[in-house]
């Protein structure tokens, strides 16, 4: 097929923020996650755990607790002292209410989702009513000294258990009085250290489960105030705890990175007496596991090492499939890098700044696997710092490299970059049109003449870029039937004729840029779209879905292409479908129209449509086998998927020209070195 010159880039210094808290939607298929930088993400279980929504963080808005209430409304609370409601359609904070109790450490919604309880720094527990359009302060419960670090409602909503330092308390919701106070370090008199109750859970049987900084998981009878069971799981703190909906299984996370499962099992076969038994230990993290969640089929944990780990419970699985595999997510399921193909520039997006780099070059050529000597080193051209506390939503560099644009929650910036010899000058475009912000995705047209801005309610703004440095608003596309969801993916055609926009309800609308009209809608497919791109020659839209299906839709003919139908008829290879990370970027090789280039975190693939699809008996990753075969024998083994797994974890890959690729990697080891040292553990008496 051919050789590529690969620019292997490892200087993108992205350090994903640690996971602070997790919340499973009750009886729903979604998981909300908050990171230490205040970003909130929503993962969809049904769409193969695709990270479908991201609300970037805010310097002043830490999130200590997340909870779902009133069905699908998501609330967060943090050390800023505010309770925040998130707008999941527009991906921003919809409203925020002061808790009036200093920093908020914990928050919990009651079983019916009508009330929120918050635990504050000043030791108070406050109740808020969830009403349409916001929340309303209801009352204070009995206040004592000591911050409330964790809260849990009794499933019948009659009592609240709250964990504090050295003690846990149980409140009666009706009277607001403390009905029980239990000192948790009573049994360890000789220790002078304070014992922090990090996490608490109230079971319907009246048992209160606590996890504390002494590494214990304890079960208490709240009415008698007695200790029922105590399990020491770790020498360091047990930071988090979550109970399954059936209350037969508990997951706890410790500061050594280990998680443990407890199960309620009969003491012997057939006996009615049941006890909590520590059953499965897992060590998926290297750092604190600050958050755990228990879905109906999986144990979920998130750590300060930025990993989200979903460990399925095999006994809950009916058949082997996508859900039955362990999966780890470290990197976002979206693009943080954009590439100026013609100017050979890369733009890296960090939470609060952008970096513009120029790639190096070489004069040499070589054989497969060789590293070529550089004749010019890569160059860090510009660092653009975003002012203010808001984090960046999206960014883009134009193909010619002379425009850079980014958006935060409330501001949109466009810069004109000029290159004079070795120097670079950057100038802000003064009067940008007033748009409804934030922008969720930015995309320059291939001639760098216009900029497409993905916006809320399914709309896309078209801005015309003017020399020497200006812009004006040309048109706003809106889906004909309207949509509440924001657009999160854009693709424009090379001939400047078509624009595809994907909104949060997974509908793909195609607009005609010549006459500014809605052209058609791609038939709905019940899974999240992870990447789209329009072929430069045929104007076929290639769509990757989170269930790893690939579709090709002919825009001029408004129907799926014959190849796409053939793929659906034959089915994709089993190994392809079982991959666990979504395709995040698709591009094409104009010189080889039958090639589609796509990548996910773990592989780069050139899909050659002219070759037959592999059947399940064939080897999908056959490159190394092929390399060992003589030329003549290769022909019979060739199939459409040419997969390269040399570059990992792959954040971005693009084609610069005919046989020149750029791959942006972020080695996990480089991230690990940026993290604080994990807790030292003794191994084998050394």
């Amino acid at each position: 097929m051919g050789e590529f010159e690969v620019h292997r880039v490892r200087f993108f210094g992205l350090v994903p923020a640690g996971v602070r808290c997790l919340a499973c939607q009750p009886r729903g298929g979604r998981l909300a996650l908050a990171r230490t930088d205040g970003a909130v993400e929503v993962y969809n279980f049904a769409a193969n755990y695709f990270q479908e929504k991201v609300i970037p963080g805010h310097e002043a808005r830490s999130v200590e607790a997340l909870c779902w209430a009133a069905g699908d409304r998501l609330f967060g609370a943090g050390l800023g002292g505010d309770i925040t409601e998130y707008d999941l359609a527009r991906l921003c904070v919809s409203r925020s209410v002061d808790g009036c109790g200093g920093p908020i450490w914990s928050m919990a919604a009651n079983g019916s989702g009508t009330q929120l309880a918050i635990g504050c720094e000043d030791g108070s527990v406050k109740l808020f009513q969830v009403v349409p359009g916001g929340i309303q302060f209801e009352r204070n419960l009995d206040r004592r000294k000591g911050r409330i670090l964790c809260l849990s409602w009794h499933p019948l909503d009659t009592h609240i258990a709250a964990g504090s330092i050295d003690a846990l308390r149980v409140f009666d919701v009706h009277s607001g009085q403390t009905v029980q106070r239990i000192m948790v370090n009573y049994h360890v008199q000789k220790v002078k250290r304070e014992c922090i109750v990090w996490s608490i859970a109230f079971l319907s049987s009246g048992t209160v489960v606590t996890s504390d900084s002494f590494g214990r998981v304890q079960f208490w009878d709240w009415e008698r105030g007695t200790l029922l069971e105590s399990h020491t799981v770790s020498t360091s703190a047990v930071l988090s705890l979550a109970v399954s909906e059936k209350e037969d299984s508990i997951i706890v996370g410790t500061s050594t990175g280990a998680t443990y499962q407890f199960q309620l099992l009969p003491v012997k076969m057939g006996s009615l007496e049941k006890r909590w038994v520590r059953t499965k230990p897992f060590q998926h993290h290297t750092h604190d596991v600050r958050a755990v969640a228990h879905s109906s089929t999986a144990l979920i944990s998130g750590g300060l090492d930025a990993q989200l780990v979903i460990r399925p419970l095999m006994e809950k699985m009916q058949k082997k499939g996508y859900d039955a595999a362990l999966r780890k997510f470290t990197f976002p399921h979206r693009r943080l890098v954009s590439c100026a193909r013609k100017a050979r520039l890369l733009l890296f997006q960090f939470s609060q700044h952008l970096e513009l780099w120029r790639l190096g070059s070489t004069d040499e050529t070589g054989k497969d696997g060789e590293v070529l000597p550089l004749c010019r080193m890569p160059e860090h051209l510009v660092q653009l710092k975003s002012k203010g506390p808001e984090h960046i939503y999206c960014s883009c560099v134009s193909p010619c490299g002379s425009w850079v644009s980014y958006s935060t929650a409330s501001r949109f910036h466009l810069y004109r970059v000029q290159y004079e010899g070795d120097g670079v000058s950057i100038r802000k475009v003064p009067k940008v049109p007033k748009l409804v912000l934030p922008a969720y995705q930015l995309q320059f047209s291939s001639d760098s003449g216009s900029l497409f801005v993905a916006s809320a309610r399914g709309s896309v703004h078209v801005l015309q870029l003017l020399e020497p440095g200006g812009c004006k608003h040309l048109h706003t596309f809106r889906p004909p039937s309207g949509s509440p969801e924001a657009v999160y993916l854009l693709a424009s055609s090379a001939d400047g004729h078509w624009l595809a926009a994907v909104s949060g309800d997974w509908a793909i609308h195609i607009y005609n840029l010549k006459c500014f009209k809605h052209h058609c809608t791609v038939p709905m497919y019940g899974c999240a779209v992870t990447a789209v791109a329009i072929h430069p020659l045929t104007n076929n839209l290639v769509i990757a879905y989170s269930d790893q299906q690939l579709f090709e839709f002919s825009i001029p003919e408004k129907q799926y292409t014959a190849w796409s139908r053939m793929v659906q008829n034959c089915g994709l290879h089993k190994v392809w479908l079982e991959r666990d990370s979504p395709i995040t970027h698709i591009t094409f090789n104009p010189k080889n129209p039958s090639h589609i280039l796509l990548h996910d975190i773990y592989m780069f693939c050139v899909l050659d449509k002219s070759l037959p699809l592999p059947d399940n008996s064939a080897l999908l990753m056959n490159q190394s086998t092929l390399k060992q075969l003589p030329e003549t024998a290769r022909q019979r083994q060739l199939h459409a998927f040419k997969i390269c797994k040399k570059f990992q974890p792959l954040l971005f890959a693009d084609l610069l020209d005919e046989n020149c690729l750029v791959m942006v990697e972020r080695p996990i080891m480089d991230i690990k070195t940026q993290l604080p040292l994990p807790i030292q553990q003794k191994k084998f008496g050394t």
Binding site: E5, R10, E315, G360, E370, R634
Partner: protein, 723 residues
């Protein structure tokens, strides 16, 4: 679903060959070995091909002026080739013969139509007059009179099968537009003549047939583009003259407006047939193609266009189609899987995905077991009472709707049934693969079987148990009695499979198996079917030598003498193993021991049992382990070839364990002395070798580090080749 796979050219057909009837290939017949075919052309030559290599292995031709008139076949028993040239002259030769003029020749009294060679029945000769002789009978008197039974009918097609032990020949003839079918059973010397039902305006073009359950199924391709099915029962007692065979339409060869003009057909399996012909859509030029049809759902499964034209003949052996395509003989492989409606209409996306749950639901398993144990604990008094009610129940309910009964109930019902009824019912139960919690059910079935074995010592359903263990994922804990009973019955094959398949065998049972395997005589083992795949790739034992020896031991020497022979043999073999020559045990025993080596164990629990192993057996086992160790060390990667062959770690662990257990005995025993000293020498040599390797390890690692250093840069331009 059936699919055509890759195709390749077997050979060109030479200048005399070509497309169209009347020239080219006469026939293709299977060769002496799998993957071999015999090709006879319409001239003077026959060629033997190895198909996968696309290579001719040999060719023979008759003299100028002679013509081969009947396809060359291979006698599978003697590996001889048989040909007829000029209608009457029979030639028989072997692989090494080159010149056909010099090989065996017999001139017959009548014209030969075809010779059919049957895998177990020898060749059968069909004469043009309808007479049939086996080759043996014919060779006794080549000039014997051959009767003409079909007068002026012309044979159109013939085929031969084995039914049980007897060859059956079927052939079709034509006379004035009427078609007749003859079925000849050679051993019984019975001939039946049938007339094929007339069809308006069309006549059969091609036939094919297969035999199943004493019924010949004849498929005829008619000129009206349909395939008809004719059933001919073999058990025919009535001696009526000329029965009329009625036919039924099996398949119409048309799909969405285009019609396939078939020229020949073959049967692939019970639901699939392949037809070669030309596909003609209305108003379009017809294209020749090879097609596979599903007869169950009447669909065209797949087709392949053959633009260069064919001769209209199609053969099919070993999942490969053979036909002439243009000027070459083309081979196309195919796959034919069981058909489901989804597959037939092309909706089956992923046939690999298992539909049945592959996880065991342990909760229900517990319940099922409880049911069984509860049943067995039921008091005798209750039992007699329940028996009465259940008996009547079985007659009414169990026979009519066995599905609705729960497994526990069914097993309880069967407790007193006769052996055959019992096994039949269980087999039926097992065949219902869709039962929820199937694992648990099987556990119950085995428990029931074992209970029966215990109560009735004569009863032991060897094959049934083997079948269950081989086809299902069982574990020791699911059927704890199974291995105990197998040990008692010395069913080593079952034990071997259990050891290979069960993940959780207790050490006590592992030891018991080892002891049985070591103590059992080689002579006994030779009569037993044991899976040898773990041994076959590396063992090099002299079978004949061994056999003679065990014969002597068996034939009435007393125990002391036997012991003597054994001892001398041991000393002799010790000498041999020192050179790493021969295996101290036979291949069957080696395979059984390998199964033990492969099983999981924990040293602490195994050691106490292992101490009980008799000294002679321990020495024999150690000798075998030593042999394996030497074999392993021969290869650079220290692994033995073959499937489930023991790894070097397993061998070493067992060796250490055995020496630990029998330390004192080994030191005392004179015959162990030589073995131990050899072992010691060999291990010392190995240790030295590895310590030398360790010394250069640092240098090797440095080389590797240099390789890695390139990776740690933050930017590089590399060359990547994708093929």
């Amino acid at each position: 679903m059936a699919a055509l796979c890759e195709s390749f050219t077997l050979c060109g057909l030479g200048p005399s060959g070509g497309v169209g009837l009347g020239s080219g290939l006469l026939a293709l017949e299977p060769g002496p070995d799998p993957d071999h075919v015999l090709l006879t052309d319409r001239g003077r030559t026959a060629t033997l091909f190895k198909v996968s290599d696309q290579k001719p292995l040999g060719g023979w031709s008759v003299k100028h002026g002679q013509i081969i008139t009947c396809p060359v076949v291979c006698n599978f028993e003697t590996h001889e080739y048989i040909a007829v040239h000029d209608d009457k002259v029979l030639r028989i030769w072997k692989n090494k013969d080159i010149n056909l003029d010099k090989v065996f020749k017999a001139t017959l009294s009548a014209d030969v139509y075809r010779i059919h060679s049957l895998p177990n029945g020898g060749p059968v000769v069909l004469f043009k007059g309808g007479g049939v002789r086996t080759l043996d009978v014919l060779l006794e008197a080549p000039q014997q009179e051959i009767e003409n039974i079909i007068s002026d009918e012309v044979i159109k097609w013939s085929e031969a099968f084995m039914e049980g032990q007897q060859p059956v020949l079927i052939f079709a003839t034509e006379k004035d537009g009427d078609f007749f079918v003859y079925v000849q059973k050679l051993k019984m010397n019975s001939l039946h003549k049938y007339k094929l039902e007339q069809q308006e305006l069309s006549k059969p073009l091609s036939f094919t047939a297969y035999i199943k359950n004493q019924i010949i199924t004849l498929l005829c391709l008619y000129s009206n583009d349909s395939v008809y099915k004719v059933l001919i029962p073999l058990q025919q007692n009535t001696e009526e003259e000329e029965q009329i065979l009625s036919k039924s339409l099996l398949l119409n060869l048309s799909v969405s407006g285009s019609v396939l003009k078939g020229t020949s057909l073959v049967v692939l399996d019970k639901d699939h047939i392949a037809v070669l012909g030309s596909l003609a859509a209305s108003g379009e030029e017809s294209k020749e193609c090879l097609t596979i049809w599903n007869t169950k759902f009447q669909t065209l499964q797949t087709s392949k266009e053959l633009p260069l034209g064919t001769s209209g003949q199609l053969w099919c052996y070993e999942e490969k189609f053979f036909f002439t395509h243009g000027k070459v003989l083309t081979v196309v492989m195919y796959k034919c899987e069981t058909s489901s409606l989804a597959a037939a209409v092309g909706k089956l996306k992923d046939s690999q995905t298992p539909d049945v749950s592959s996880f065991v639901n342990w909760n229900t398993l517990g319940d099922e077991e409880l049911v069984v144990s509860y049943q067995s604990q039921q008091s005798v008094a209750l039992k007699s009472e329940s028996k009465m009610t259940l008996r009547s129940k079985r007659n009414t309910v169990a026979k009519v709707q066995p599905d609705t009964l729960s497994v526990g109930q069914l097993l309880l019902n069967l407790k007193d049934a006769s052996t055959t009824v019992f096994e039949d019912e269980l087999r039926q139960l097992m065949s219902k693969a869709q039962i929820p919690d199937f694992q648990a059910t099987i556990g119950c079935v085995i428990t029931a079987l074992m209970n029966r074995c215990k109560t009735n010592p004569k009863y032991y359903p060897r094959n049934f148990l083997l079948h269950i263990v081989q086809t299902r994922d069982l574990s020791y804990s699911l059927c704890p009695d199974l291995m105990a009973v197998a040990l008692e019955k010395k069913d080593v094959h079952l034990l071997q499979i259990c050891l290979q398949r069960f993940p959780d065998i207790p050490e006590e049972i592992t030891y018991a198996c080892l002891k049985v395997f070591l103590s059992i005589s080689e002579a006994y083992l030779q009569r037993i079917d044991v899976n040898l795949e773990s041994v076959i790739c590396y063992i090099d034992i002299e079978f004949n030598n061994k056999e003679v020896k065990t014969e002597i031991v068996e034939n009435g020497f007393n125990a002391e003498l036997e012991q003597d022979i054994w001892d001398t043999k041991i000393t002799k073999e010790t000498h041999l193993t020192a050179d790493g020559e021969f295996c101290p045990v036979g291949p069957q025993k080696a395979a059984l021991l390998n199964a033990v080596l492969h099983s999981a164990y924990s040293e602490t629990f195994l050691l106490p049992h292992l101490k009980n192993l008799p000294a002679q057996q321990a020495v024999l086992f150690l000798r075998y382990l030593y042999y394996l160790y030497v074999k392993c060390s021969e290869k650079i990667n220290t692994t033995l070839p073959g499937i489930r062959s023991p790894t070097i770690n397993q061998i070493m662990d067992w060796m250490c364990l055995l020496l630990d257990a029998h330390f004192t005995v080994m030191v005392m025993l004179p015959e162990a002395k030589k073995l131990l000293s050899n072992l010691h020498k060999f291990v010392r040599a190995q240790v030295r070798f590895y310590s030398e390797l360790n010394k250069i390890e640092g240098s090797l690692r440095e080389l590797q580090r240099l390789n890695h250093q390139k990776d740690s840069q933050t930017y590089s331009i590399e060359v990547l080749e994708l093929i």
